[in-house]
Symmetry: C2
Subunit: 194 residues, 2 copies
Amino acid sequence: MDERFKKQMEVSLEIDKEKNVFRQTHLSGNGRNENDAEHGWHVAIMAYLLKEYSNEPVDISKVMIMCLIHDIVEIDAGDTYAYDSEGLTTQKAREDAAKERIFSLLPEDQKEELIALFDEFEEYKTPESKFAHAMDNLQPLMLNNSNDGGDWREHGVNREQVYGRQSKTREGSEKLFELTDMVIKRHIEKGNIQ
Amino acid sequence: MDERFKKQMEVSLEIDKEKNVFRQTHLSGNGRNENDAEHGWHVAIMAYLLKEYSNEPVDISKVMIMCLIHDIVEIDAGDTYAYDSEGLTTQKAREDAAKERIFSLLPEDQKEELIALFDEFEEYKTPESKFAHAMDNLQPLMLNNSNDGGDWREHGVNREQVYGRQSKTREGSEKLFELTDMVIKRHIEKGNIQ
């Protein structure tokens, strides 16, 4: 095996570890906690199914690969819950170190390509990254809604926190934010969001 | 919510169930059994990382969405182990019924689009479907190899069965088949494949 191919196969095996990174979100039917790999799969398919609702035209191939790789850094950095204010202060440093270690396993050109995609996602500026983020927000909201808001109740999350994160969905999709807003209001009324 | 959007969100939630369909393959590090959603995620990323090894040029967006959706039918039909000859005789009928039920939840145009993608994958004729299949074969082989061939030993799988499935990787990628062949030969020598 040549060096390039060997590196690509090493990364292919390394990312298997993402299946052991568990999130705060629970599967529908009040199931177990979801892991990052499952989340990435779900978000990528939803991006494909809902692409017509992006505010701006998107390169769906780019959106999908962003969705698939955006949590790879959590193999080292762990999942930081969206409403964990302490964890959020160290998140960037932990994720930067992870990004360097994991993507450096790739051949140089692919390292650069994947880091560029990851950074574009994080920077939240292009139509693709905004739509990918909208999916990254909508998918756990949808699961949590299907479980009667249990994840919000469990963590005592309040409306400012939920809107702080979810209102950014509007930048990627006005249509999906309308649904998001409707779901949040319902759970505030029910007392699931404080 | 309009009818179209409602249907798209229903499907988005319905496919969550794929995370409860477990396969015979084990995660690296002698981990637990893998589920279909994780497998789909892994296969789609590998397709992206290894696309230069496709025998023919491919539309990678099409390959990725094929990889992501190819096991959705198993929500109803269950996973059929690649070397379960009894299960394989009823697999097509079970999967056809599942395909009709699940994709019919979508708006008509998307139902047609996803069924066409699923059928293209199954028919194994286009460059995209051949490369997607190569990934679908390589990913469990890679995991199983990392676990010293435990999945083959557990099921007493023989070389004809392994080559029967894995030799089709050659149709999608000669390069990836060279690796596959090397791995299989090593496990025959070690006695992990009969």
